[in-house]
C-alpha cells in the first residue's frame, strides 16, 4: 500500500491533533525586531545540481553530510540521491563570497552510491580523516576518509556488515573508555516481512566496538522493538554524563509503537524507558530530531518534526534524574509550524529535517524545518515551504521564511545549516525530493542600500586528542555577560543529515566571550578568553585557544 493511501486511514486521529493546533500559536506575530537574514538561493550558480529521486522507498530520506574532507576546514558536502547516485562536492567558496562547489569523482562504484537515503560524517578510526556512513536501501556503506577527499570502502576493515535493511537514521557516541564510537542505526520498514508495510518495522541496530586497536563491529546488537525510526540521537537528556538514545518513529507503519528512549548502560544491552519511569507515550510521524538547550541548564529541549504539529519537548516539572517526562512547549513558543505560512494552502504541513541554530547571530536560538509533501498526499499541503522560525526576545519563535527567501515550491527533506563561505553567517543547504537541492547563501540583513552584517559570532573547533579527536559528545559553553549558550557536539539527529566541524555560536553585540569545554569524558576545561568574529581552535591541554583563518581567495 502506498503511503498516500495508508495515511488516509490515520487521518481521523490526526485531525484531532491538528484542530487544536490550527487555533494559532500562543505567541502573536509581534515584537520580532532582530535581523532577518536574507538567504539567497544559488545552488546552480554554485555548481550544485542534484536531486533526490526514486519511488516509494525514497519518499523518506534525502540527507546530506557536511564535513571537511580535504583539510582546508571548509565544509564539503555529500548529498544522498535515492535512486540516483549520491553526489560529493568539494567546497571552493571564497571567504565571504558567492558559494562555489566542485563535483568530486570519488572513483567509488556507482552502484554503491545508489540507494543512499542519509549520510553522516564521523571519524570512526580516530585518524583525523572524517569517515562517512551512507544509510542505504540495503547494505549500508562505510567509507573511510583519506587525504584530499579520498574515500575507500571500509565495511570489511571495520567489520561492519551493513545489513540488508532500509536504513534511515544514525547516531554515534563514544561510550566510556571505548576507543571507537558506538553507532546506532535506525531502520524503517522490513519490506520482506509478512503484511508489510504495516506493523513490520525492522529492529534497529547498535554497533558497539569490540576491544582492540582497530574498529571491529562484528557483534551488532538488535534494538527491539523497532518502530520505523526516521531519526535518532544520543543525548545526555538528564545531565548524567552518559547519553541515552532517543528515537523518533513514524507512526505511519508501526503498531503499538511510540517514541523511544533507550537507556544506555555500559557492558549491557540498552533498555527502553517505560511509562513507569515517566516516559510518556507519544505517537507522531516522527521525521527528525533537533536538540538545543534554551536556558543552558544542561537539560536539553528537542524539536520533533512530524506531519502537522512540530513538537518541542522540554522536561516537565514531574521529571527527575531518572524520569524522562516531557511536555510540549511548541504552542507556547509559537513553533508548531503546523501548516504553510504562505501560499494559501491551509492543509497541514509535513516536516522533515529540523535543526536549531542562530542564523542571525543575535544570541537567540532559531529553528529551521525542511518541509514538503511526502509525494502527492492530497490531505497535506502541496505547497509546503520550509520554515525559518526566528527566536525572539519575547521567548517565542517568529516565522520569517518568506522574508528570508526560503519559501520555495520544493519538497524539502534533509538539510544542513552551515557556514559554507566562512564569513560567520550561517548558510543553508536543503535536499529536495525530485527537485534540485537548494543552496542558500546568507547575505546578512537587508537595508535600503544593500545588505549589512548581523551580530557577532564565534566558531569553535575542538581537538580532544588521540581518541575521539573531534570531541563528539563534548559540551561547549560560551559566556557573554550574564548569558550562557551551550552547544553539544553530536553525530545524529536531523533527517538523514549530519554535520562535523566548527560549532557556530551567535554573540549579538558582545565583542568577546569566555568559553569552557566539557570534554567527552566529563572533564571541564579552564576558561578560554576569545574575541568575537573568530574561528577558534581549542586543543585539549593547551593553555590558550588558537585562532584559525581561511585562506584568502
Amino acid at each position: 500500500m502506498s503511503p498516500t493511501r495508508s495515511l488516509l486511514r490515520a487521518l481521523p486521529l490526526f485531525g484531532t491533533l491538528a484542530l487544536a493546533a490550527l487555533c494559532g500559536p500562543a505567541a502573536a506575530e509581534t515584537g520580532f525586531t532582530s535581523d532577518v537574514p536574507i538567504l539567497h538561493e544559488e545552488a546552480l550558480e554554485a555548481g550544485i545540481d542534484h536531486s533526490y529521486t526514486g519511488g516509494w522507498e525514497f519518499f523518506v530520506g534525502g540527507g546530506v553530510a557536511s564535513f571537511d574532507c580535504n583539510g582546508d576546514r571548509r565544509p564539503d558536502l555529500v548529498l544522498a540521491g535515492g535512486a540516483s547516485p549520491a553526489a560529493f562536492y568539494v567546497n571552493e567558496s571564497p571567504t565571504g563570497g558567492a558559494l562555489r562547489f566542485r563535483r568530486l569523482d570519488t572513483g567509488l562504484d556507482a552502484d554503491d552510491l545508489t540507494g543512499v537515503l542519509g549520510a553522516y560524517p564521523i571519524d570512526i578510526d580516530n585518524d583525523r580523516h572524517t569517515d562517512l556512513v551512507l544509510l542505504r536501501l540495503g547494505r549500508n556503506l562505510v567509507l573511510k576518509g583519506g587525504p584530499d577527499c579520498s574515500f575507500e570502502k571500509a565495511n570489511r576493515s571495520f567489520a561492519i556488515d551493513g545489513g540488508r535493511a532500509w536504513s534511515t537514521a544514525l547516531s554515534a557516541t563514544w561510550e566510556k573508555d571505548n576507543r571507537f564510537p558506538t553507532i546506532a542505526i535506525g531502520n524503517y520498514v522490513d519490506r520482506s516481512a509478512p503484511g508489510t508495510p504495516f506493523g513490520t518495522c525492522e529492529p534497529n541496530q547498535l554497533l558497539r566496538p569490540r576491544p582492540g586497536e582497530t574498529p571491529d563491529y562484528s557483534e551488532p546488537l538488535a534494538l527491539e522493538p523497532g518502530h520505523c525510526a526516521l531519526s535518532m540521537l544520543f543525548t545526555d537528556w538528564n545531565r548524567s554524563g552518559k547519553p541515552d538514545l532517543r528515537i523518533t518513529n513514524d507512526r505511519q507503519y508501526y503498531r503499538d509503537g511510540e517514541e523511544q528512549l533507550w537507556q544506555m548502560a555500559e557492558d549491557r544491552p540498552p533498555r527502553l524507558y517505560t511509562k513507569a519511569q515517566g516516559w510518556q507515550r507519544l505517537t507522531i510521524w516522527g521525521m527528525g530530531i533537533a536538540e538545543t538547550d534554551f536556558d543552558a541548564d544542561g537539560l536539553p529541549e528537542y524539536a520533533l518534526t512530524s506531519m502537522g504539529d512540530t513538537k518541542i519537548q522540554k522536561l516537565d516539572e514531574e521529571a527527575g534524574e531518572d524520569r524522562p517526562t516531557y511536555r510540549d512547549i511548541a504552542f507556547e513558543r509559537g513553533a508548531t509550524a503546523h501548516r504553510p505560512y504562505t501560499g494559501g494552502d491551509h492543509k497541514p504541513s509535513t516536516g522533515w529535517h529540523s535543526q536549531f541554530a542562530d542564523i542571525n547571530n543575535d544570541t537567540l536560538t532559531d529553528l529551521f524545518i525542511a518541509k514538503g509533501n511526502v509525494q502527492a498526499m492530497p490531505d497535506f499541503a502541496s505547497f509546503d515551504p520550509d520554515n525559518l522560525l526566528m527566536g525572539g526576545f519575547d521567548q517565542a519563535f517568529h516565522e520569517r521564511g518568506e522574508e528570508a527567501g526560503v519559501a520555495l515550491p520544493t519538497r524539502g527533506r534533509g538539510a544542513v545549516i552551515e557556514d559554507f563561505n566562512m564569513d560567520g553567517m550561517l548558510d543553508l543547504l536543503v535536499v529536495n525530493r525530485e527537485h534540485p537541492a537548494s543552496l542558500f547563501r546568507n547575505l546578512g540583513a537587508a537595508t535600503d542600500w544593500g545588505h549589512r552584517p548581523m551580530g557577532n559570532w564565534v566558531k569553535i573547533e575542538l581537538d580532544n586528542g588521540k581518541i575521539n579527536p573531534a570531541a563528539v559528545g563534548a559540551l561547549v559553553s560560551v559566556r557573554t555577560g550574564t548569558r550562557t549558550q551551550t552547544r553539544r557536539l553530536q553525530i545524529g539527529g536531523g533527517h538523514g543529515s549530519g554535520h562535523a566541524g566548527f560549532v557556530h555560536v551567535g554573540l549579538g553585540v558582545s565583542e568577546r566571550a569566555t568559553i569552557r569545554v566539557q570534554w567527552p569524558d566529563g572533564e571541564w576545561s579552564h576558561p578560554y578568553r576569545v574575541f568575537a568574529n573568530q574561528h577558534v581552535r581549542i586543543i585539549r591541554g593547551e593553555a590558550n585557544a588558537r585562532y584559525w583563518y581561511p585562506a584568502t581567495p
Partner: protein, 474 residues
C-alpha cells in the same frame, strides 16, 4: 554637502517662537537636550570645515549638556554593563555613585583644564564589569576597579594611530599565514608596528595561529587605545558605553530593539534615547579636540631645565614606552570606524562613512612630519599594555578584578601629552605628584623608574620640569 543634506535640524529657540501648539517637551524651556535630536541622519561623505564645525558644535553641546530624565537619564531596569543586561530588580534612584548613573553631563567629569579634559579624584568612576545586577554599594576592589577620568584632547589622532597599528599587525598575521601555507611549515613573525613591538605570532600551514607569544595586545590584534586598561576600540564605543554607564542614556546602535527586542531597554519610559547620529556628533567633537602641545612657562631656568629633563627622560629609558611621537599616515578620520564590532556602529553597517579631515584644523596641520611625510603625533605613549608591578613595586597592582580579559596589574602606557595640565596620575588618580607616579612604576617600567630614583635630585627635578611643559591648550 550642505547642512541640510546632512540632516541638521534647527535647534535654536527662535525656530519655535510663534508656534502656538507645542508639545510639552518641545517648549523652548523644556527640561531636555534638544541637540539629541539635532541630526536627522548620520553624517556621511567628506565633510567641509563648515560642516565639521556645525557637527562638532552639536557634539560639544551634547558633551556639556546636563541630561535629564526627559532625555532618558536613568536605567532602572538595566545595568551599566557594556553588553545590554537587565537588572534583576528595578532601582528606585536615578543616580548611584558607584554603579552609575553617576553624572549629569560628560563635562561634569571631563573638565580639567577645559571641557573634554580630565577630572579630579572626585570624578573617579568604577569600572566594574557589571554584568550581574551590580547593586554594589561598596568601594571594595573586589567589586569594581576605581579609575580616574582621562582627558580626550588629541583622541582622534590616538584612534587613527590605533587603526593603522591594528591594520599593520593584522597584515603581519596575514603574511605569516601566507608564508606558512606556501611553505607547508610553521612561520613565526615579529609583530611590530610604528616601532612598537607586540611579541610574535606563529602561523601553521593549516591556517591556525598560535597566540601564546603576543605581548600587550588583544588576540584579535586590534589596538584598543582608550581607557587606562586599553580595552576600548574607538571613541564611538567609548561614547556608547559611557552614555549608558554614566547617564543611563542608551544608544540605539547597541541597546535598541534590533539587539534587545525593546526600544526602551532600560525601562525608564523613554524610547530611542540616543540615535546613531547623536553618537556621531559626540564622536566628531571628541575626535577633533586639539592635540596637547608643549609650552614652556616664561619662568627663568625652566626652558633649560626642561631641555635637560627631556634628555634625562630618554636616558632613563622612559621613552621606551612613553614614545615621544608615533608616525601617522593619514589625518582622515572615518566614522563609524573599521574595527568596531556589532553593538558599536562600524563601517560595514552604513552605506557610507563620514570622513573628518583633521588637516582642516590648524593644530593638526602644524604637527611635525617625518621624512616620509607622516604626521608625528606627540603623544608620549606606545598604545601598548604593560605589566606595571613586580614584587617590590606594586602600588599599581591594587585591584582584584581583571577587566576585559586584561589582568589586574596590566595597563596601557599612559599618554603623557597634557600631563603638565592635568592628571590623572595613576589609574586611580591617587598620586598627587608626577614624582610619586614615576616612582610607582614597577614591572616593565621598573628599570626606568630605578634610573630616575637613583638620579641626582637636579636631574629628577629636570624631568618634572620637562613633563610640565606637555600641556593642553584648548
Amino acid at each position: 554637502m550642505t547642512l541640510r543634506k546632512m540632516g541638521f535640524r534647527a535647534v535654536s529657540l527662535g525656530i519655535f517662537m510663534g508656534v502656538t501648539a507645542l508639545a510639552a517637551a518641545d517648549e523652548p524651556w523644556a527640561e531636555r537636550t534638544r541637540e539629541l535630536d539635532a541630526l536627522a541622519r548620520l553624517p556621511s561623505g567628506v565633510l567641509s570645515r563648515a560642516e565639521l564645525d556645525a557637527l562638532t558644535e552639536i557634539g560639544k553641546a551634547l558633551f556639556e549638556a546636563n541630561f535629564t530624565t526627559l532625555d532618558g537619564v536613568g536605567r532602572p531596569e538595566a545595568t551599566q554593563a557594556i553588553d545590554p543586561t537587565r537588572r534583576k530588580h528595578p532601582r528606585e534612584q536615578v543616580f548611584f555613585r558607584t554603579a552609575g548613573p553617576d553624572a549629569g553631563s560628560c563635562a561634569a567629569c571631563h573638565n580639567k583644564p577645559a571641557t573634554g579634559g580630565a577630572g579630579d579624584f572626585v570624578t573617579n568612576v568604577f569600572a566594574s564589569e557589571g554584568f550581574e545586577s551590580a547593586d554594589f554599594d561598596s568601594l571594595d576592589p573586589q567589586f569594581s576597579s576605581e579609575r580616574g577620568t582621562n582627558h580626550l584632547f588629541g583622541a582622534g589622532l590616538v584612534e587613527l594611530l590605533a587603526r593603522e597599528m591594528s591594520h599593520d599587525l593584522q597584515a603581519i598575521r596575514g603574511e605569516a599565514l601566507r608564508q606558512a601555507r606556501a611553505g607547508g611549515a610553521t612561520v613565526r613573525l615579529k609583530l611590530e608596528t610604528k616601532g612598537v613591538e607586540f611579541g610574535f605570532i606563529s602561523a601553521d600551514a593549516d591556517g591556525s595561529v598560535n597566540l601564546d607569544e603576543l605581548d600587550g595586545v588583544d588576540t584579535d590584534l586590534v589596538i584598543r587605545p582608550f581607557t587606562q586598561k586599553g580595552v576600548m576600540t574607538s571613541l564611538r564605543q567609548f561614547t556608547v558605553n559611557a552614555m549608558n554607564q554614566h547617564h543611563g542614556i542608551q544608544a540605539d546602535e547597541r541597546f535598541g530593539a534590533r539587539w534587545t527586542g525593546s526600544d526602551d531597554f532600560d525601562g525608564d519610559g523613554k524610547a530611542h534615547e540616543m540615535s546613531a547620529a547623536a553618537v556621531s556628533a559626540l564622536v566628531a567633537w571628541q575626535a577633533t579636540l586639539p592635540a596637547p602641545t608643549r609650552q614652556v612657562p616664561q619662568v627663568e631656568g625652566w626652558a633649560e631645565a626642561a631641555e635637560r629633563g627631556e634628555a634625562k627622560f630618554t636616558a632613563f629609558g622612559c621613552d621606551s614606552c612613553h614614545r615621544p611621537a608615533l608616525p601617522l599616515e593619514s589625518l582622515s578620520f572615518a566614522d563609524p570606524g573599521p574595527f568596531d564590532l556589532a553593538g558599536t556602529l562600524n563601517d560595514g553597517q552604513v552605506p557610507e562613512t563620514a570622513v573628518y579631515d583633521f588637516s582642516l584644523y590648524d593644530w593638526a596641520a602644524a604637527l611635525p612630519r617625518d621624512d616620509r611625510g607622516r604626521v608625528l603625533v606627540p603623544l608620549f605613549g606606545d598604545l601598548k599594555r604593560h605589566v606595571m608591578t613586580d614584587n617590590q613595586i606594586d602600588a599599581l597592582g591594587n585591584e582584584l578584578l581583571a577587566q576585559r580579559f586584561v589582568e589586574r596589574n596590566i595597563f596601557q602606557t599612559a599618554e603623557l601629552w597634557g600631563v603638565g595640565s592635568t592628571g590623572p596620575y595613576g589609574h586611580r588618580n591617587d598620586f598627587s605628584t608626577l614624582d610619586e607616579i614615576i616612582l610607582a612604576h614597577g614591572g616593565n617600567g621598573r628599570a626606568a623608574r630605578d634610573a630616575y630614583a637613583d638620579a641626582a635630585e637636579a636631574d629628577k627635578s629636570a624631568v618634572i620640569a620637562f613633563l610640565k611643559t606637555l600641556v593642553i591648550l584648548p
